[in-house]
Symmetry: C2
Subunit: 221 residues, 2 copies
DNA sequence: GGCCGTATGTGACCAAGTCACAGGGTTTGC
DNA sequence: GCAAACCCTGTGACTTGGTCACATACGGCC
């Protein structure tokens, strides 16, 4: 891929004037990271604005008791809005980001980012729209953790993370970390789903056999 | 108060060049709102960037079952960062904001805001720092809701919302809405605190008699 | 005083998280 | 090929937190 090709991944950037686009391309670079890389964490503020080209990054929080919860995912075409916040606010993260797959991303240095924010209304809109989406995500997480039943949340998550065949390669522990709960809770819920014939389970994987039943639970009042 | 006096409330704005300050002051206006005003809510995106001069605004989320949780408060000297996000991202809020007291605030129209963001690095820094703080707050809320015990959270909140005499004028229902839990849970915890001699309760109010004990619980591992 | 709306108390029950531990697969190293 | 180590899953007993259904109790206000 030529270095300037990545712009085509971000519709929000097409309308930028040529000179700004040129500045963006000239000073940014494409980085490749292997799956499992810790991209940032508490005390490790990033120094660049990130645009994802390929792969997914998981942003999660870890409690002192070792329990985890996934806050959101950043995938191709997204920017990491929290990076943006902390980049600009010069604040440290409370969360950590991990590459779930091999990742390719554009890194725009802080100075360039600030410069382009100043020069382009469209770039501002692009950044703040992404930001706004993330904040909405965080609100949804709070609402679900505070108010939603665990069976409903698990059903949602299973549907979300299944491939088109209804296959999910996650352990109970990993699902617990998605939802911020304990492994035993997931095991019991999955047993219940299986007892009802909605899924089948095997070591490290789950297959959805009745997606409709799960969907109905997931959208229950 | 003269219209330009409010700038002194925001140290982050002092360093702005005179022409930018003048633009800010010229196009913004000071608004007064009585306690109880609903400032924004789902479907009611605000149309201005808000700087708080006096009073407090509570930003909360309401579940469909009627339970509530406080996300954060905006008080004098703060900006409403979420307003900022949604203002710039042109997105709707999922939460609502209520004036807890009589409120005075500066409203900066969207166009002016965008203009000044473009012109002033210091203003950008001011806005994004505020934003960053809010995001950190949201992370803390998620962590607490997902992982912290309710007695610890209640102790924290009691200390937070007590005046210097250790007096708190909140009903059990209101405390439940602060923490996103049920009224009965708060009642039982308060009874337990009272049984231990840490607080005394009366209708609609609580007095802390042993702040140290509460503090110890609030900072427990 | 009697009424009414709101605040609080309580017991029974259900949902979810914790703890301790038991097996069963898989992988690793020999 | 085998054993040890590790990870994944199952399970029972228990604690904590949330729900439901009421019962009181308090504070204004006629």
């Amino acid at each position: 891929m030529h270095s300037e090709d990545w712009v085509s991944h971000f519709p929000g950037l097409h309308s930028l004037p040529d000179d700004i686009l040129a500045a963006l391309i000239a000073s940014s670079r494409v980085v490749q990271l292997p799956a499992g890389t810790r991209i940032f964490g508490p005390g490790h503020a990033p120094d660049a604005f990130i645009l994802m080209l390929r792969g997914t990054v998981r942003v999660q929080q870890v409690s002192d008791t070792g329990r985890e919860i996934v806050l959101y995912r950043v995938s191709a075409g997204d920017s990491c809005a929290l990076t943006t916040a902390c980049l600009m606010g010069y604040d440290d993260y409370q969360a950590e980001a991990l590459a779930e797959t091999d990742v390719a991303a554009v890194a725009i240095p802080r100075a360039t980012f600030d410069d382009i924010i100043a020069r382009s209304p469209d770039f501002r809109r692009f950044v703040f729209t992404a930001f706004s989406r993330r904040v909405t995500d965080l609100f949804r997480v709070i609402e679900e953790v505070a108010f939603a039943r665990i069976d409903v949340r698990l059903a949602q998550r299973l549907l979300e993370r299944a491939n088109t065949d209804g296959h999910i390669e996650l352990t109970h522990q990993q699902l617990a970390a998605e939802l911020g709960t304990a492994r035993e809770v997931i095991s019991r819920q999955l047993n219940e789903f299986q007892r009802r014939g909605w899924i089948t389970t095997s070591r490290g994987a789950i297959d959805i056999t009745q997606p409709e039943a799960l969907r109905q639970l997931a959208t229950a009042p």
